[in-house]
Amino acid sequence: MTNLEKYNEAFIASFEITEEKLNGLKYQDIEFWDSVGHMTLVANLEDAFDIMMETDDIIDLSSYEKGKEILTEKYDISF
């Protein structure tokens, strides 16, 4: 599984959405991206990439694209 597939799977599992809805997705866009959804997403990303995200990164993770940016710049994960 590629990193992009792992990343997408974390979003799909956390928010019960389909892959075609991921591009441009922001936290206010869907019902399930609330605080619980956000914590679930962080846990799924941490499990998928074997990382532990810092507080500031968790707060900054506000969109599908921003998440990629954070993982790339802070956790050396390439997509």
Partner: protein, 185 residues
């Protein structure tokens, strides 16, 4: 002044100088719409309310994160004979609504009142159409009481033992300890 601090969150017991800030937050439509009481709260009403809760049965705290006051969390109506109390919260700063900060604040509060103060049960009321609050309440380990379907404001309970072994709490603490090089669970 009572200050509870952990997980990078401070809970600062509400004092008279902060009640006007809290009143403005509470009157904001973003908060008001999730409350059972939705009329405007006046400064006089706020003062009366604060005098009625500034005691050993009610503990209201300002949630302070990264040196910013972002909301209010409380344990109220403590019954010292039954060792029970009721929790409530609102986060005003929407920057933190989609984060784990409110969850951290609850861990700080519940750790203190379950472990240090000896409460055995904490209840909470959630409006039946507040889906986010319902999910969050369940995430903390609360269970809806029986026969609540007829009510708009529904009661949930969290038992101390269930809270302490809640998988979400244990996962968070484990991660926190690793990030902070602290092996104490």
């Amino acid at each position: 002044m009572l200050l509870l601090e952990n997980y990078d969150v401070k809970l600062i017991r509400l004092t008279d100088d902060k009640i006007e800030m809290v009143r403005k937050w509470r009157n904001d439509s973003s908060i008001q719409r999730f409350m059972e009481y939705r009329d405007k709260i006046t400064p006089l009403m706020q003062e009366k309310w604060f005098k009625s809760v500034d005691n050993s049965s009610n503990f209201y705290f300002i949630i302070n994160f990264q040196n910013t006051d972002i909301g209010v969390i409380n344990i109220k109506n403590i019954d010292s004979e039954k060792d029970e109390g009721e929790a409530g919260v609102f986060v005003y700063d929407d920057k933190y609504l989609n984060t784990d900060v409110a969850y951290r604040a609850h861990l700080v509060l519940f750790d203190y009142f379950f472990i240090e103060m000896g409460l055995k049960k904490i209840s909470s009321h959630v409006l039946s159409d507040n889906k986010r609050a319902i999910r969050f309440t369940a995430f903390l380990g609360f269970v809806k009481c029986e026969n609540q379907e007829a009510f708009y404001n529904q009661e949930y309970n969290l038992i101390k033992e269930d809270y302490l072994k809640n998988i979400n709490r244990l996962r968070f603490i484990k991660k926190w300890n690793v990030l902070n090089n602290n092996n104490i669970l």
